[in-house]
Amino acid sequence: MMEITEGSHAVAEAVRLCRPQVVSAYPITPQTHIVEALADFVANGELDAEYINVENEFSALSACVGASAAGSRTYSATTSQGLALMFEVCFNAAGMRLPIVMSIANRAMGAPLSIWNDMQDSISLRDAGWLQFYAEDNQEATDLHFIAYRVSEDPTVLLPAFVCFDGFILSHTYEPIDMLTQDDVDRYLPRFSPPERLDAADPISFGMYATPEYYHEFRYAHDKALKEAQNVIAKAGKEFATLFGRDYGAMVEGYKLDDAETVIVAMGSVCGTIKDAIDEMQTDGKKVGLLKIRVFRPFPSEDVAKFIKGAQRVQRIAVLDKNISLGAKGATALEVKDALYGSAVPIWNYIIGLGGRDVRKKDIKEIVSLAEQGHGDQFYGLRKEVL
């Protein structure tokens, strides 16, 4: 059913439809509208869940750990400082193989303090062993929650997932959304029934400690499960397409790659801007394409390599990162370089949009020019007058 709604509210509605039994909530800009909407749903009997007003984000995710281990589908949302506070619990939840889904309304990390968008928060947790999905628009932000629960809870996966969407840019923007019905979601997402849970009828010890004789193998098993989740994503995405017409089976998406001489690689809402800029550049005769990454963990190295290989005219690659591994490069650029190791095509990294700096079509066009001139590996668009 089509509706025009704020991104946060669309996400909250999607979560409501997933029927979580436990919602753990702590406010932080710019995800607060999500937890507020969920509170309203509970207060009005539209969501049959226990809503825990935790006292900080660390406890928010910890409560999810308990709820999930006890066998309930659970949810929380956070960003930036809140996600950083959950750092320890993120590793813990993933290592304990608990299929928690958490929305991340991406926001810059302090210091300096910023409430505006970039992806440093979720990117900084790329090593924690969670699935990471990145939405281009609010339709994706909405749908990816159904996909995330479905993939997370798959008995061969059993890993928690971030569903990331740009704070303010997506969370606070009104867009038309095709919202699924409760029947749709019930058909797509089965009741959560984990193979093991905390239960007096079958006592199990969860979260034991592992000595050097075992830890290495636990990490291997975790990594394997995360990497093999791409098969589950493919299946879950294809089924979503069959039922609802939108295909989330692929971890990457190509846009006008066929004859592209410059390929831009990017994630998130900037992809919409990039597509518009590409259309304009194509009209002007410039051959530019986009490789959009929708799943960052597991990283789709093979797919990236395949798509770039398929772009037979490619002469240069511009990887845009709304994050930076300080002291090195943007996270996507490092991954893409790894995926394309051995390729002779130059790969340039552009750090864009940190702390909410707007990225416009003209910026994309300028970046393409810079790449054409061989000027890369830089912070794009520095305001020299304030340096």
């Binding site: 039994q21 660390f58 406890s59 750990v65 034991m208 400690y209 075992y214």
Partner: protein, 301 residues
């Protein structure tokens, strides 16, 4: 009603606690009192480490360990899940004093403020024992630990024990108690009462540590008794914030307790530290007055 199981060992042998461990005994007694319809949430610490090196677990009830500081938050999530699933298991948190008095304060305060239905058992061995005897908020005044060592310029820990029972009573906890492995029947009764009282309840269990305090393992119970008999550990119950029952004693001087443990040896050797011992005695006297510990002996004539 929690299922009581008098002959039921729900904490198995083969765990790796030191011989004579007070905390291990606490785990046995608490699980006995709680019964099989219990989910235990442990914080990182001695008890968690000596009971669950993969693949060996000593727990015969469902058990979960997450992190050091978040047992209360994890328990909050479990409680919510059980409520939604219509299940009846009771939740018992078992956390050491480090996890409870220090690093877990935020999570505990939040969980108690929200009023979740669980029982929080703090096994209090008065320091971070698992990491090798470091000072916690529960370490008594003048106890020597590795991070509050006695030395030529120090008498050990400079601060008195944090009053956790009062803090949690102030959160509106309907039932708060202190207990000791020295009195197992009393301990089990208090645990059962806490489990059967709706809301967040707290029982702080004194669990002397032979390795950390410096005494022979066979003395664990005797020393736990002396703690109570000297007024160093008041044993009481609070219902809705008011002290209702206290273990009364004919009080012994604190030196009887202090001289048994290496962590207080510096108060006696090389020189008897009268002023410090007097300060500790004053603390015990204040406990006695506050809780009404002293048995009033009939005056002659």
């Amino acid at each position: 009603m929690a299922e009581k199981c008098k002959s039921c060992e729900l904490f198995d042998s083969g765990h790796r606690a030191c011989g004579g461990c007070g905390a291990a005994l606490a785990a046995r007694l608490v699980t006995k009192a709680a019964g099989t319809e219990t989910i235990v949430v442990s914080s990182t610490g001695c008890m968690e480490v000596f009971s669950t090196p993969y693949p060996e677990t000593a727990w015969k009830v469902p058990w979960i360990h997450s992190l050091f500081e978040n047992a209360s938050a994890v328990a909050s999530g479990i409680e919510a899940a059980l409520k939604k699933q219509g299940r009846r298991e009771k939740i018992v948190i078992m956390a050491g004093d480090g996890a409870t008095f220090d690093i877990g304060m935020i999570c505990i305060s939040g969980a108690f403020e929200r009023g979740h239905d669980f029982t929080y058992i703090c096994y209090d061995n008065e320091a971070y024992m698992n990491t090798g005897i470091q000072r916690s908020g529960a370490t008594p005044y003048d106890a020597s630990t590795t991070t509050s060592p006695a030395g030529s310029h120090s008498f050990g820990n400079k601060r008195p024990k944090k009053d956790m029972p009062a803090i949690l009573a102030a959160h509106g906890a309907p039932y708060v108690a202190t207990a000791s492995i020295a009195y197992p029947a009393d301990l089990m009764q208090k645990v059962e009462k806490a489990i059967n009282t709706p809301g967040p309840c707290y029982v702080q269990v004194h669990a002397p540590c032979c390795t950390g305090w410096g005494f022979e393992g066979e003395q664990t119970i005797a020393i736990a008794k002396l703690a109570i008999e000297t007024g160093m550990w008041p044993n009481f119950e609070m219902v809705d914030g008011k002290v209702t029952k206290v273990k009364k004693v004919v009080r012994k001087p604190v030196t009887e307790y202090l001289k048994t443990q290496k962590r207080f040896r510096h108060l006696f050797k090389p020189k008897l530290q009268d002023a410090e011992i007097a300060a500790i005695q004053a603390m015990a006297d204040r406990n006695a007055e506050k809780y009404g510990i002293d048995i009033k002996l009939k005056k002659e004539g």
